[in-house]
């Protein structure tokens, strides 16, 4: 049985999504994708010079990948919507990761504006993956207005601090019938593995890979960790018990 994730009618078998910012050289991106096997790659529209220069980073993304432009730089729903429309008009497809940030100190997303942008873009036929601070009610609203998945942060962007929001993300995984993709904050492969063990549908990693000493090797490490976490989740992780089970129980004489 193949373990597939379906988003926007696309079948995804590799649950590590890759970000493309912060690399010391964009020419590393094809190797990062190849070694990790990633199928979904996000690109900031602000960084794309659609076909105008030799340095167009989208040239480094293989055709068989799903391109997920993101609206980095948008400060409100209106700007996010415009960036999404621009990306689609320039041939970047109909997937869009909504990123609305009006806090340049911590880069925390504006959930309210994100809901607004999601509603507009879902109606226009986009496959919308909103990036949010984890919140069950926000996730429900996003589901109701047509989000294809919800992407809660594990910790503030770029911090590599790991799953600081674990409890809230777990509730979203348990309660929302949409793919939950942990995006931002994951700094080490074991944290990606942990998110997958929890039942996350995928994880998106950028800084931890792009700023590693060897980004290509690190991407492979993350890919393996994501696979391991997913396998563990599907296998059914054994219950955690508070007390040991004695092999010579004290009540054995009762033949219970």
């Amino acid at each position: 049985m193949e373990d597939e994730l379906i988003i926007g009618n696309k079948k995804i078998t590799n649950r590590l999504f890759i970000g493309t910012g912060k690399f010391p050289d964009d020419s590393l991106i094809p190797d990062v994708i190849k070694k990790s096997g990633a199928q979904v790659v996000t690109v900031a529209v602000r960084r794309v010079d659609f076909g105008k220069t030799k340095e167009d980073m989208t040239n480094y993304i293989p055709d068989n990948c799903i391109l997920m432009p993101n609206t980095s730089g948008a400060r409100n729903a209106d700007e996010a919507v415009r960036i999404a429309r621009l990306a689609r008009a320039m041939g970047a497809g109909n997937w869009i990761k909504i990123e609305v940030i009006s806090d340049n100190k911590y880069l925390l997303p504006d959930n309210i504006e994100t809901i607004k942008a999601t509603e507009v873009l879902a109606k226009e036929g986009f496959v919308v993956l909103p990036y949010v601070s984890p919140d069950l009610m926000v996730a429900k609203r996003l589901r109701d207005v047509g989000a294809a998945a919800v992407m809660p942060l594990g910790a503030p962007i770029g911090t590599n601090r790991g799953l600081k929001t674990k409890e809230l993300v777990q509730i979203m995984i348990d309660e929302i019938d949409l793919p939950i993709i942990v995006d931002a904050g994951i700094g080490r492969p074991h944290e990606a593995c942990e998110a997958m063990e929890m039942g996350a549908s995928a994880v998106l990693v950028n800084t931890a890979i792009a700023t590693a000493g060897d980004p290509v090797f690190m991407a492979e490490a993350f890919s393996n960790a994501v696979k391991a976490g997913r396998m563990a989740y599907i296998s059914g992780i054994g219950a955690v018990k508070k007390y040991a089970e004695a092999s010579s129980p004290l009540t054995g004489f009762l033949n219970l």
Binding site: K22, F23, R46, R47, D49, E55, I83, L86, N104
Partner: protein, 371 residues
């Protein structure tokens, strides 16, 4: 309406000497190891005592920069539209008293120059003028911006201070960034070096970033002209200003520049010398204090120094700069002496190669103006 001026007043009479004398090695070590710094921590890093900790500070600044920005350097280019100026600033080549050739670019030449520059790959442009509402009114700037929008994804203006409404107009026209230097935050020195002209109004200039932020600008770059006054004091107030802007206007990207006084026509002697070591301490302190702060470095600095500063916290680099009006045109019809002397005369290709060989990626585009 509160502005930075009222924040500045709270610190105007701060006892810098007393503070610096009280700083121990332990204080500096404690600050370097902190995750989140306050303004006094920043001043601790800026203290004379902290000079012996530059390497440890550099290691931290390097890590913080990579975590927040990655190994990338954004490249931009300045375009001087005009050098008419009615101000008499003691330190500036555009001083109205200076007998230099005054020029203003025609709109046709703005387009021509934009074509030439954009063909090189630049997508971020900084346009500059002197202060002359008669020669370069807001309507002229708007006309230029309308042309430049066809070629560039980000347009930054470094012109005279505007009213909030005028900033709104320019934001709607396609300007996303402003650069405005207070030059010096010390009011007495400010009054001494700004002999006459509208720029003499200290408070109006100081409140310019507030007006621009309220008008919806996306990126504000501030700074002091290092050397005009005691540099430690000016850098402290610059940091205070940057922190104020970041706290008050959360959706605005805040950046600083670290320009040192350069030779120009007219013989102004800086009040304090800012050595390379001082400049490094300034950059490191800024980066550790505000991890998300943009830090720009212009071609005022030498090629060697610029190469070495890349890993220390710089995020933006100008390249192949001319400080002359029409400086990129093949025809030399606007021949003038430039605002200041450029030290790093390398070609864009050479700078790109240097950035790459440092293990960093030169970025030409990092903004999409959808207004």
């Amino acid at each position: 309406m509160t502005t930075f001026y009222y924040e500045y007043i709270r610190y105007r009479n701060f006892n810098f000497e007393g503070f610096f004398n009280s700083i121990s090695d332990y204080d500096i070590e404690r600050v370097i190891s902190k995750d989140k710094l306050n303004i006094y921590d920043f001043l601790t890093l800026l203290s004379p005592n902290a000079e012996k900790y530059l390497e440890i500070m550099a290691q931290k600044a390097h890590r913080v920069t990579i975590q927040n920005f990655g190994r990338v350097i954004l490249l931009y280019i300045p375009m001087y539209l005009a050098n008419y100026c009615i101000n008499k600033c003691a330190y500036c080549g555009y001083n109205a008293d200076n007998k230099i050739k005054r020029n203003i670019m025609s709109i046709e030449d703005v387009r021509h120059e934009a074509e030439l520059i954009s063909q090189k790959g630049f997508r971020h442009i900084l346009i500059l003028t002197g202060e002359s509402r008669a020669k370069t009114p807001v309507s002229y700037i708007k006309t230029c911006v309308a042309v430049l929008k066809e070629y560039f994804s980000s347009i930054c203006i470094e012109i005279y201070p505007l009213k909030e409404k005028e900033y709104e107009e320019l934001v709607h026209a396609g300007v996303d960034s402003i650069t405005i230097y207070q030059e010096t935050y010390d009011e007495k020195t400010y009054d001494e070096v700004h002999l006459s002209g509208p720029k003499k109004n200290y408070k109006y200039r100081l409140e310019t970033p507030d007006r621009a932020c309220r008008a919806g600008i996306k990126n504000v770059n501030i700074g002091a002209l290092l050397g005009l006054n005691d540099w430690r004091k000016d850098v402290f107030y610059t940091a205070l200003h940057a922190k104020y802007l970041q706290d008050k206007y959360g959706d605005v990207d805040v950046g600083v520049s670290v320009p040192r006084i350069k030779p120009h026509i007219g013989a102004f002697q800086p009040k304090s010398n800012v050595s390379d070591k001082n400049l490094v301490q300034i950059i490191l302190s800024f980066r550790i204090f505000m991890p998300r702060l943009g830090i720009s470095l212009s071609t005022r600095e030498s090629a060697d120094l610029r190469n070495n500063l890349i890993p220390l916290g710089i995020t933006k680099f100008s390249a192949e700069s001319s400080t002359k009006v029409g400086g990129y045109l093949e025809e030399k019809e606007y021949e003038d002496s430039g605002q200041f002397e450029v030290s790093d005369n390398r070609s864009l290709e050479e700078i790109v190669e240097m950035i790459r060989s440092s293990g960093y990626q030169p970025i030409f585009k990092d903004w999409e103006n959808v207004i």
